[in-house]
Structure formats: structure tokens, C-alpha cells
């Protein structure tokens, strides 16, 4: 056995399927967004709750700093934040680790350094227990949930995008639409 190349194929226990990748799904009328419950935050002087953000559009970004697809999307989110924060958009990073604590993703100092490295000024919640990830039924890094001024989920989607590409413009239009309502 020791000399046998097993070719043990791994595919079954995957956190998701390949169906309908990256397609943002509009929810007509929306569904109520689960409340945020994280107690550990960065770039916020106290834990944020959606119930306190009524009247603002909220974009949740589920990410982790070890995910290249996530970090390459951050410049787009920083651009949205700079452009729309004063007009009523709140971007919230939901930092959900992939691995157990031994990988360092749970460490608040590591996350703080990642935020500084990427120029992220918007609030980030540590979702170390995956409670928020599970509440929203998220399966991939990065994922996005756009919530309207009434606290209803209106658009969801996932997958890396870049400044001024098609997905960037689509999310930009959705943000503008909800800000205008």
C-alpha cells in the first residue's frame, strides 16, 4: 500500500455545486434579511445590527483574507464604499474562516492587518462560528447579499469581479436602484 499511488479521488464533500455559478438572483419584493449577531467587529466602534440600518442600503460581502478571489474583489467594494457611503450605502464585510483556528483566519490581529493591507475602511464582522454564513445559506467565497432600505434581501450572488467589468457594473446598477427607492 505504501508504494501504491492510490489516486484517491476527492470530490464528494464539497461545500456546494457548480450550478448557476455567479448568477445573482433577484428576489422580487425580497425576503427579510437575518439579523447580524457577531460580537467582534473591526472598523466599527460597536457591533452593527441591521435593525439599526433601516433606511440605508446594505451590501454584505462574505469573504476571508486567505481567498484570492475575495481579495481581488476588494478594490471594487472599496470603490463602492467611497462612492456611495454618503448616499446611503453601508458595506459590511462578513469574515468567515474556511479552516479551523490553527490556520490563523480566526485571529483578529490577522484580520486587522488584512484590512489595512487592502485599504478597507468599511465595517467587518468576525463570523468565526459561521453563524451568519449559515443564517444566509452561503456556500462560496466571495458571496454578496444586497439588502434594501426596509431590511429585505433583494439580490444575492457570488464570485470574483473587478473594477469596471460587467459584474461590477451590474452590482453598481443594483446599488443605485435600491438607493433610489
Amino acid at each position: 500500500m505504501r508504494t501504491l499511488s492510490m489516486g484517491l479521488l476527492l470530490a464528494g464533500v464539497v461545500a456546494g455545486t457548480t450550478a448557476a455559478l455567479r448568477s445573482a438572483v433577484p428576489s422580487v419584493g425580497g425576503t427579510p434579511a437575518p439579523e447580524l449577531t457577531s460580537t467582534s467587529w473591526l472598523n466599527a466602534d460597536r457591533p452593527l445590527r441591521l435593525s439599526e440600518l433601516r433606511g440605508r442600503v446594505v451590501l454584505l460581502n462574505f469573504w476571508v483574507f486567505t481567498c484570492g478571489n475575495c481579495t481581488r474583489t476588494v478594490p471594487s467594494l472599496v470603490a463602492y464604499d467611497r462612492h456611495y457611503r454618503e448616499r446611503g450605502l453601508t458595506i459590511i464585510g462578513i469574515h468567515t474562516p474556511e479552516f479551523p483556528p490553527y490556520a490563523g483566519e480566526h485571529d483578529k490581529g490577522n484580520l486587522a492587518r488584512a484590512l489595512a493591507r487592502q485599504g478597507i475602511a468599511y465595517p467587518n464582522a468576525q463570523d468565526n462560528d459561521r453563524r451568519t454564513w449559515d443564517a444566509y445559506g452561503i456556500r462560496y467565497w466571495p458571496s454578496f447579499v444586497l439588502i434594501d432600505k426596509r431590511g429585505m434581501i433583494r439580490y444575492t450572488g457570488y464570485g470574483e469581479f473587478h473594477l469596471d467589468d460587467g459584474d461590477f457594473r451590474t452590482w453598481d446598477q443594483r446599488i443605485q436602484q435600491l438607493l433610489a427607492e
Binding site: G7, L8, L9, V13, L21, C67, C70, S143
Partner: protein, 111 residues
């Protein structure tokens, strides 16, 4: 490991792959080697972990990564202890090209 155990493992592996194309293969060495399927990239910023049943955590690594350090450019390997547990849980983050996202893969393995 007995031939019977090998057969069980192979059966489990095939069953696990029934609904999805294989993403990676674990090749017994030594050292153990993770080989990604074509167009599947293994996240190098989160080194794959082999959590042995005795609590030991081994991390796969390779000196060759992509220019942005995001993915392995050569199959990552890990040396296993000469004795002790020969089974555990494999955990890795895979980012298939074209999907523009990362997913977590967790699976029981033995060698």
C-alpha cells in the same frame, strides 16, 4: 493496511465521486501529494491540512506558487510520520478556474 481496507477506501472514493467530477487526487508517497484536476487550483494562502486521528495537523506545501501567491503551481506535498495514524481528515480550499470563487473540501482519507 490490508487489501480489504484498500478496497473499502477505493469504494468510498468512487462513491464520493459519483455526482461530481474529481477535484483533486491524493497520491500516497511518501510524501503524500495532492494533485489537482485540470483547471482546478489549490489555494496556497490556506495550505491544505491533513488532520490525523491522533490530533496531529500536517500542512501540505510547495515552493512553487503562482505569481500572486494565491495558488500552488506544483503539487503540494507533506511528509507523514513514520509511524502512528495513517488516516484522518483532509481539508483544502479549491478555486476552480472559471468559477472565480473558492470552496472548501473536507474528506476522510487513509493511505
Amino acid at each position: 493496511m490490508t487489501k480489504f481496507a484498500m478496497l473499502v477506501l477505493a469504494t468510498l472514493a468512487i462513491a464520493a465521486c459519483h455526482d461530481h467530477p474529481p477535484l483533486v487526487a491524493l497520491e500516497a508517497g511518501p510524501p503524500l501529494r495532492l494533485v489537482a484536476a485540470p483547471r482546478v487550483r489549490i489555494n496556497a494562502r490556506l495550505k491544505p491540512a491533513l488532520e490525523l486521528d491522533d490530533g496531529t495537523v500536517l500542512r501540505f506545501d510547495s515552493p512553487r506558487v503562482t505569481s500572486d501567491s494565491a495558488y500552488f503551481a506544483a503539487a503540494p506535498t507533506v511528509a507523514t510520520p513514520p509511524s502512528g495514524s495513517r488516516h484522518g481528515t483532509l481539508r483544502l480550499s479549491v478555486c476552480p478556474a472559471g468559477e472565480r470563487l473558492c470552496r472548501l473540501v473536507v474528506m476522510a482519507v487513509a493511505w
